[in-house]
């Protein structure tokens, strides 16, 4: 019960974005089955404005826009989640190796330098161009879009992990374990990494929003998932030409859905980060709320 109450005390923006994110994940699972019409089969009912029957109207191929928007949850959100998952795991591993000094090991220093320069290389190319090139090179399949999006996200996760690892590495409990004789890989895995991941994981939520935008963006340019797979970016692109002639709903309504989802992931990520910072504060203020033990409980041995 108290968990519910804590949750309800959050700012409204967090509540709304949390709700939308929860709905998004739910729709990624059941979205296509909720679609009132087949989102891939063209019909003669082209360019119908929004009406009770076609709430978002229909597009130039006569496909119900709402059905596309709903079915696309599974495509865009799943691509984003999977690719962020991949880059999160790979980024944490690379960041850990690049950040941890292994008690002054030469080899680790070299590995760190090499990883960092490779990350520089990846980051020096604009994200969108890089993703475009990757998908263009290997082919427009869902798998390649996932790999491309994961690849461009990886440097940020690696750098976040690295900087956290570098600060945790100098905490005394690491030296304490070292003096105890625990192996360096063991210290990294059981002490340094668990204490370094909060910020990286909070960022993952923001990154999911970005990844959805990137996936949709690739399709918008025709370089992402191929039609007729229902997809927000492709649908927005297909309606772009009709806005000037007054058929605004094809682009605008799926675009609004996309914006709401991306914004919610970003807001939730911010809230998560703020919550982690709050949780981190008592540790920095020693003795702020120390549990006091009655005198009898703590005593000198006889």
């Amino acid at each position: 019960m108290s968990a519910v109450r804590t949750w309800l005390r959050q700012p409204p923006a967090t509540l709304v974005s949390g709700g939308i994110v929860a709905a998004t994940v739910l729709l990624a699972i059941v979205g296509p089955t909720l679609a009132p019409f087949n989102p891939e089969r063209p019909t003669p009912l082209v360019l119908l404005p929004p009406s009770p029957r076609h709430v978002f109207g229909t597009d130039a191929s006569g496909i119900d826009v709402l059905s596309v928007a709903l079915a696309a949850f599974r495509v865009d959100v799943v691509i984003a989640l999977v690719s962020v998952g991949i880059s999160l795991i790979a980024g944490i591993m690379l960041g850990a190796v690049a950040g941890y000094g292994f008690n002054g090991s030469r080899l680790a220093a070299w590995a760190s330098t090499i990883i960092l320069r490779l990350l520089d290389l990846v980051q020096s190319i604009p994200v969108f161009i890089l993703a475009l090139a990757l998908v263009g090179m290997f082919g427009q399949t869902v798998r390649n879009v996932v790999i491309g999006v994961a690849f461009v996200n990886l440097p940020v996760f690696a750098r976040l992990t690295r900087s956290a690892v570098r600060s945790v590495e100098h905490r005394e409990f690491v030296a304490a374990s070292r003096a105890l004789g625990v192996r360096e890989t063991g210290i990294l895995g059981s002490h340094v990494l668990p204490n370094s991941l909060d910020g990286t994981i909070a960022y993952a939520s923001i990154a999911v929003g970005g990844a959805i935008l990137l996936t949709a963006g690739l399709s918008f340019l025709g370089a992402g998932v191929r039609p007729p797979t229902p997809e927000w970016g492709a649908e927005i692109a297909s309606g772009a030409g009709y806005i000037v002639t007054g058929q605004w709903w094809i682009s605008v309504l799926p675009g609004l859905v996309l914006s709401a989802v991306v914004l919610s992931f970003a807001l939730l990520g911010d809230a998560a980060r703020a919550a982690l910072e709050r949780a981190g504060r008592p540790a920095a203020m020693p003795g702020a709320q120390v549990l006091t033990v009655p005198a009898g409980e703590e005593r000198m041995p006889a």
Binding site: R171, E172, F173, A175, A176, S177, R178, A179, L180, G181, V182, S190, H191, P194, N195, P282, A283, P286, G287, Q289, V290, L291, T292, V293, P294, A295, G296, E297, E298, R299, M300, P301
Partner: protein, 682 residues
């Protein structure tokens, strides 16, 4: 007597805490007369800083400050409006914050900061510069015109604290509130600051409220003492009387808990931990930790009552009996005498052999880096069964030495051998074996435990790493080792954030003991803890030494503590050993001028109204460019031309070595004594 400058009556500070109110300060009353220095003593969380901040109305929402009276001169501070308070702060009340390293604006010059303080109170034009130069000179900073142009990072810690005091004095306030003004400083600089406070009162009639957890600091300069516990003043009165005949058990217990340089004796750690405002016990807040408690203490909170001329105490026992019975507050330990008789480890059996060890660090960018000489050509042995103390100011290289001994760092040159084996050659199994035999406990118990590991998990890691016992016996082992450090079994499931500092340090020690080491290295093991808790940990070390036959290496800047726990003391200065002496000799007759000056600069609770002499005024030279010859010659009162040319070797006999051509003379032992404080007009 003239009316008091500051009058505080029944001051309460409350904070909202989920619907209810908690009161970290509850009913504090005291007065400060003109030209008086009052000491406010208490452990962390006792409410002393909140009390001080309330005096200049710096406690803002959500806190609520109330009092029957809160007056500074003719001004009612409770009714004063914000503009009135602003005019008052700086002009009437000056504040010296604790940390000189962070309390100056880092990107403004000292001159600009003093200027701003003066401008705010209407001082204009050339008068400002004149006043700024005057206060900097007043606080003893050399070459004031140059200091005005400096930025804080260009000054040393002691100079920064002086500049901070200068800033507080710029508008010549009648009341100075100094919140732990020397806690972040080394002993010699602390002595200088204390002299400065005493001089201010003598020449400017400044009243001072000096807040400190260190009884020695307040004993030297304060006319009267206020002892705070759990948000109340439990005892007050003239300094000499409060310290000599304490009327509250807490004051007496604090005195018993402080190690003294003059004599090693059994310390008395107050059992338990201070209560927090969230869970204060019923009745007298101190009764669960009190050796004198009677039944009434558990029910009624004693009011402050007059127990002598100018003396108040809030204690049922002393009120009923007219004083505290003269019993030892440590009935449980009758073996105090055994602690002073020490066994010097046999010299034939060195565990550690340190030979010509040098450790240099490169700082700055690779193309123009500087070399920090942390340690230079150090040689000494640590014998089996002895307790070795290592002292020095910050920057002397003592922590570097501890890390080298624990093999957390490797020397640039030289060799460290343990039990005949060169540490540099240890690999694999032999390295693991060394790790088991030599354990280290760190300074900060808040960062030396992994926040995600329970107490049991932390100890278990030690047991598993060295395969101390089969997994099913682990729990029994953990219980046993927790018991050794005085923690009951149900601490096993707790996380570090649920423990107090003292409890955490016990866990760190338990974890080190779990692998049955031969040597325990402790790097400033108590400096992050409260006085009463420090004594508990020191007691624990003493006990472990006797029971576990441990060899101890204790690194600390607190000389009295080192005196308390060690048989032999190494004094380090700028990366060199200047003296290696038996603890008893070190405490009274150190031969090296630096060891002597350091020892004399420690304020003592036994010398009420006396300040430690200032034997050394010059600044510590940078470790990147240590002076040639004897490194101490730039600050030494015995320095001869030869000292700046030749480096004195570390020689001597009977286990007493020192590195000095002109050691302290018999005459100097008696002439360089503490100075009696000038009480000003009183």
């Amino acid at each position: 007597m003239s009316p008091p400058l500051l009058r505080v009556e029944n001051l309460r500070v409350g904070f909202p805490d989920g619907g209810a109110w908690i009161h970290p300060v509850r009913g504090v009353s005291f007065e400060i007369g003109a030209g008086e220095i009052i000491g406010l003593v208490g452990e962390s969380g006792s409410g002393k800083t909140l009390t001080a901040l309330s005096c200049s109305r710096l406690v803002g929402p959500p806190a609520r400050v109330s009092a029957d009276a809160l007056r500074l001169g003719d001004v009612d501070l409770l009714r004063a409006t914000d503009p009135m308070l602003r005019a008052l702060r700086g002009r009437q009340i000056g504040m010296i914050p604790q940390d000189p390293l962070t309390s100056l604006h880092p990107s403004l010059t000292i001159g600009r900061q003093i200027n701003d303080a003066l401008t705010d109170h209407g001082v204009r034009g050339g008068e400002r510069r004149r006043r700024a130069l005057e206060v900097l000179d007043r606080v003893g900073l050399p070459d004031p015109p140059a200091i005005l142009r400096r930025y804080p990072h260009e000054l040393s810690g002691g100079m920064r604290q002086r500049a901070t005091i200068g800033l507080a004095l710029a508008n010549a306030p009648s009341l100075l509130i100094a919140d732990e003004p020397t806690t972040a400083l080394d002993a010699m600089i602390q002595a200088q600051i204390l002299h400065l406070l005493a001089d201010l009162r003598a020449s400017w009639q400044t009243s001072i409220l000096l807040i400190s957890h260190n009884l020695g600091v307040v004993a030297g300069v304060c006319d009267r003492l206020l002892v705070m516990y759990a948000g109340r003043i439990v005892e007050s009165g003239p300094t000499s009387q409060v310290l000599a005949e304490s009327m509250h058990p807490y004051t007496r217990a604090l005195l018993e808990a402080v190690p003294r340089l003059e004599s090693a004796r059994a310390l008395y750690g107050i059992p338990g931990t201070p209560p927090t405002p969230w869970n204060r016990p019923r009745g007298c807040a101190f009764h669960p930790r009190c050796a004198y408690r009677i039944e009434r203490c558990q029910v009624d909170d004693p009011p402050a009552a007059v127990v002598g001329p100018g003396r108040l105490a809030a204690c049922w026992v002393s009120q009923v009996r007219g004083g505290l019975p003269v019993i030892s507050p440590t009935p449980s330990r009758g073996d105090g005498a055994t602690l002073t008789v020490r066994s010097i480890g046999s010299t034939e059996d060195p565990l550690f052999q340190v030979t010509g060890v040098t450790r240099h660090f490169a700082v700055g960018p690779a193309w123009r880096h500087e070399i920090v000489h942390a340690l230079d050509d150090i040689s000494f042995d640590v014998h089996r069964g002895e307790s070795l103390g290592i002292v020095g100011e910050s920057g002397s290289g003592k922590t570097t030495l501890a890390r080298l001994l624990a093999l957390l760092d490797r020397p640039t040159h030289g060799e460290i051998a343990y039990d005949g084996e060169d540490l540099a050659r240890l690999r694999g199994a032999s390295l693991l074996k060394f790790r088991r035999r030599v354990q280290i406990v760190f300074q900060d118990p808040y960062s030396s435990l992994d926040p995600r590991y329970t107490v049991a998990d932390a100890v278990r890691e030690a047991l598993r790493t060295h395969r101390i016992c089969p997994p099913r016996e682990e729990d029994a082992h953990i219980r046993e080792v927790l018991d050794k450090v005085g923690l009951s079994a149900h601490f096993a499931g707790r996380y570090p954030h649920e423990l107090s500092g003292g409890q955490r340090q016990r866990v760190c020690i338990a974890r080190a003991l779990a692998v049955r080491p031969e040597v325990l290295i402790a790097d400033e093991p108590v400096s992050a803890l409260d006085v009463s808790i420090q004594a508990q940990i020191v007691e624990l070390f003493e006990q472990l030494r006797r029971q576990e036959r441990l060899t101890l290496v204790v690194v600390a800047h607190d000389l009295a503590l080192i005196r308390q726990v060690s048989d032999r003391v190494l004094t380090l200065y700028l990366g060199k050993i200047v003296e290696d002496a038996p603890a008893a000799v070190y405490a009274v007759r150190p031969r090296h001028p630096y060891a002597f000056a350091l020892g004399r600069s420690v304020p003592s609770v036994e010398r009420v109204g006396e300040l430690p002499p200032i034997l050394v005024t010059a600044e510590l030279p940078p470790a990147t460019a240590p002076p040639p010859g004897c490194r101490f010659h730039t600050r030494c009162f015995n320095a001869h031309p030869r000292c700046s040319r030749d480096e004195p070797p570390l020689v001597g006999d009977h286990g007493h070595r020192f590195a000095c051509f002109y050691p302290v003379t018999e005459e100097q032992y008696s002439s360089l004594t503490p100075r009696t404080v000038d009480a000003g007009v009183r």
